[in-house]
Subunit: 242 residues, 2 copies
Amino acid sequence: MTPDTFKVACSNCNLRELCMPVGFDNQDMKKLDEVVAKRHQVKQGQMLFANGDEFTSLYAIRTGFFKTCISNEDGREQVTGFQMAGEIIGLDGIVSDRHSCNAVALEDAEVCVMPFANVEELSREFPVLQRHVHKIMSREIVRENGMMMMLGNMRAEERLAAFLLNLVQRLHARGFSQSELVLRMTREEIGSYLGLKLETISRTFSKFSEDGVIEVKQRYVKILNPDALKKIFNPQPCHSKL
Amino acid sequence: MTPDTFKVACSNCNLRELCMPVGFDNQDMKKLDEVVAKRHQVKQGQMLFANGDEFTSLYAIRTGFFKTCISNEDGREQVTGFQMAGEIIGLDGIVSDRHSCNAVALEDAEVCVMPFANVEELSREFPVLQRHVHKIMSREIVRENGMMMMLGNMRAEERLAAFLLNLVQRLHARGFSQSELVLRMTREEIGSYLGLKLETISRTFSKFSEDGVIEVKQRYVKILNPDALKKIFNPQPCHSKL
DNA sequence: CGAGTTCTTGACAGTGATCAAGCGACGTGG
DNA sequence: CCACGTCGCTTGATCACTGTCAAGAACTCG
């Protein structure tokens, strides 16, 4: 096996269990490596793909951190998601063969390029991969349902608490701390994601900090009282029966 | 061909071009009929599936009108979509083998039950069906991206204008009027969908009516000035270059 | 070190929520 | 056919949360 093929092999990737299905034997795994055509570097601030670009591939994030966002005719921007290692982006492009959002690297990143034709072809051969692709898309649908609940029903504090808990949970699944994180995005980007203005994000951080729930210093955040955060995110109705 | 098989055949369904892929020859079409196991009636107010139900099937709406909604631990409800004939619901269940939302019939309805195992099996055999399933899921992701933009960035009037335009456009694609519609949902359900309260929906309807943009009488809505609605939905920045 | 970006904080304003009351439509049963 | 009750809708008055505008501080990076 040459160093080259070694480099792009899913079978040797430490993120495999995050972005690929389990239950493959070694022989299948070799075939699965064909999904990934190559790797691609994206510098901080650069776009992996942009609204209107032809859709050819899905991308599995190997390292780095992305945001996806859409923008209006009148210039308003909505961040639709933040993605980290092991997550898949580009699903938006399937329906129209063109991407409908921008994917911007918030730090230097590397992605595995998975030509969608390969994905579909191997999906026909491997039911477990087919199921996996379906699950990834379904997961994104369910995530966005949750976002609709946030944006439609929750107040600023609840949104930010939910955001922090979600972020730290995903980082923890990747071996990082359960209580400390460094934000890769600005207050404005958090605000866009949560349907709030950057000043509101800043104020809410300050309030959480005053209440001793978190410690904030610029991009660094330490969660001091996770239970308090969970309570903010999911306020129990007083004297709830049962 | 017995009347029974005739009844559930996609090949004879007038909604085929809405919910099934094009580009099938007659022979393939016969096989494709195997996707649909049976039809199922849902009375107004009944649930097709509920949060927590085991996921087994996708459903293609033949007649009727549905809402899908999720609810919080503390009882807040978010309508995540309204679905009409030719649209597919149930995609939320794939990721966890359980549904994560409720699907409620807003009028008496009939759905085609498509066991997901059938869908996956036939998808492996027919690339055109496989691609179609992927597109349906991607379309839902893109729709929800647009909802995030609405909920995160738009004001009440813009949301309601966008909602009406979207609804009438989908109805028109099904052969109904471009300008008149009968709402199948309450003001409260519209509000939940749009992240607003029912009073705001009512007030905004009244304002549109006073401005001569629409005519409203309870559930009946007539769009008098579609251009004005589009302008509300998508306000051009003053003196926009180009 | 300096320019530009990002963040914080204050004062004030505005949009939509909340609370409240009454109206209108619809369906049922007398 | 009409009385009545329920549910959905409208409208008004007031309030609260978040947005807007502004100024300055802190941080980053060339």
